[in-house]
């Protein structure tokens, strides 16, 4: 016997199924959510109030898959580059957040530039990024630009290190400069830069916090475990998305982010900067490179069957 739509027991089950359907993107839910609910109710025993585990797993997996597929629309080049630019812009803002009390105007402008990048407002994002970038490079170099800023800038929260104490001006230039280059890069087939998820804001505390400690404190280029966890999780998710959709936009985004990181670290380790990488740095860098390679190779995997 299957569940009907009238019984009180069913309403509990139906409510639970509706919650599970939230795994699907809103446009799909609006178009087909009721249809799926109808089949789910017909397929489930009437005396059940808890959805069967196999249906729960199917809905969660189906929802994630549908979300990823919905994300794979539009120009691969433009969207992939925008993804990488977004990640770097968010990391640039996260670098300023612990010092917001000392440099409120520049942190606010950086937040506005991230908002513009997320919404796809390219021509708003570029001047904001340039303005914040010039100030950031000045702070890193100990120069005064636009307003008097006492250097070093000491943190108010999340870290105990002074602003850009482990960055040369040239690495800050690269981090902001490549965001502008990425925003300016023309798409071969045109298309619109679409808005990205609000969840990017949630990445900021993970990137800004310098804990829990993993590397020896004295090292002049520490990487926090919170940052590592986030970067590895996002790149692993990108690899899964590439696998599911056979789309290269996630590889492009990861490669852009990795390029900014690698170029920045390479510049820092020039003899005049005196930074020496530890084996932990190299191992972590190799892991990020491996995940980026996975996002590029998984979409090219052999097809198992005609409709794969």
């Amino acid at each position: 016997m299957t569940a009907t739509l009238e019984s009180p027991v069913t309403s509990v089950l139906e409510r639970r199924y509706r919650k599970l359907l939230l795994a699907y993107p809103r446009p799909y839910r609006q178009a087909h959510g009721d249809e799926l609910l109808d089949v789910l109710m017909e397929s489930t025993d009437a005396d059940r109030t808890i959805p069967p585990p196999r249906e729960v797993a199917g809905l969660v997996a189906g929802g994630i898959r549908t979300r990823v597929i919905h994300l794979a629309g539009g120009s691969v080049w433009r969207d992939g580059l925008h993804l990488g630019v977004t990640a770097v812009a968010v990391a640039n803002l996260a670098a300023l957040v612990p010092y917001a009390a000392a440099i409120p105007l520049w942190t606010a402008l950086s937040a506005l530039s991230v908002l513009a990048v997320l919404r796809g407002w390219v021509w708003v994002a570029i001047p904001l990024t340039v303005a914040v970038g010039v100030k950031a490079v000045a702070v890193a170099g100990g120069w005064q630009v636009a307003e008097l800023t006492q250097v070093p800038v000491y943190p108010g929260l999340l870290t105990g290190r002074a602003l850009f104490s482990d960055s040369a001006p040239v690495t800050v230039t690269v981090a902001y400069g490549l965001v502008v280059v990425g925003l300016l890069a023309p798409a071969p087939r045109g298309g619109v830069t679409r808005a990205r998820s609000w969840w990017w804001w949630a990445a900021i505390p993970f990137l800004a916090w310098d804990g829990p400690a993993w590397m020896i404190e004295e090292h002049n280029l520490p990487i926090s475990l919170s940052r590592m966890g986030l970067e590895l999780a996002l790149m692993a998710a990108a690899a899964v998305a590439g696998y599911l959709t056979r789309d290269l936009r996630w590889a492009l985004g990861c490669a852009f982010y990795l390029a900014v990181t690698v170029v920045g670290v390479t510049l820092l380790t020039l003899p005049e900067n005196g930074v020496i990488l530890s084996s932990q740095h190299l191992a972590y860098g190799a892991l990020l490179a491996l995940l980026t390679a996975a996002t590029a190779l998984l979409p090219l995997r052999q097809r198992r069957h005609a409709l794969d």
Binding site: L5, H32, D34, E35, L36, L37, D38, V39, L40, E42, S43, R54, E55, A57, G58, L59, V60, A61, G62, G63, R65, T66, R304, H305, A306, L307, D308
Partner: protein
């Protein structure tokens, strides 16, 4: 039937097969798949609709019509000409694969009482003759014709 073939995944094969007799909605497809596979293939609703969306996107099934039942929209899917050609090609491929196993496996042929018959004619399972008739009347081709 193998759990999956090199051309079409097993659940997709059953979905296409279920639609051969006419358009069906999601729940009816699910029930028919279970019936056709003797209960072995039971995709969850999330999995089934993932398959339906992908088959629809590839053009092997199409939405035949939409009906409103209990105030909810219900899509009826039908197989397209391309889908029918695909599932028929897959069925022929599996039939050829099954014929090959029956022809090359003495144990299987003996179990079906075919070995002696084939050997007497000088056209054993590994022979090159025109083949023999398997139970059910299907002609199993000889290796030279395979």
């Amino acid at each position: 039937m193998p759990r999956g073939t090199s051309e079409v995944s097993e659940p997709m094969f059953f979905v296409l097969t279920a639609l051969l007799n006419g358009p069906l909605h999601g729940h009816a497809i699910s029930k028919l798949i279970q019936e056709l596979s003797n209960g072995r293939v039971r995709p969850s609703v999330g999995t089934l609709y993932g398959i339906l969306e992908r088959l629809h996107e590839r053009g092997v099934i199409a939405v035949d019509r939409e009906e409103t039942v209990n105030g909810r929209n219900r899509r009826y899917f039908r197989i397209t000409d391309e889908g029918q050609a695909l599932v028929e090609a897959e069925a022929r491929r599996m039939q050829d694969a099954a014929a090959l196993v029956l022809r090359l496996s003495p144990g299987q042929a003996q179990a079906w009482g075919l070995w002696g018959q084939a050997s007497r004619a000088g056209k054993g399972p590994l022979g090159t003759g025109p083949g023999w008739r398997a139970p059910g009347g299907a002609l199993v081709p000889g290796i030279a014709r395979g």
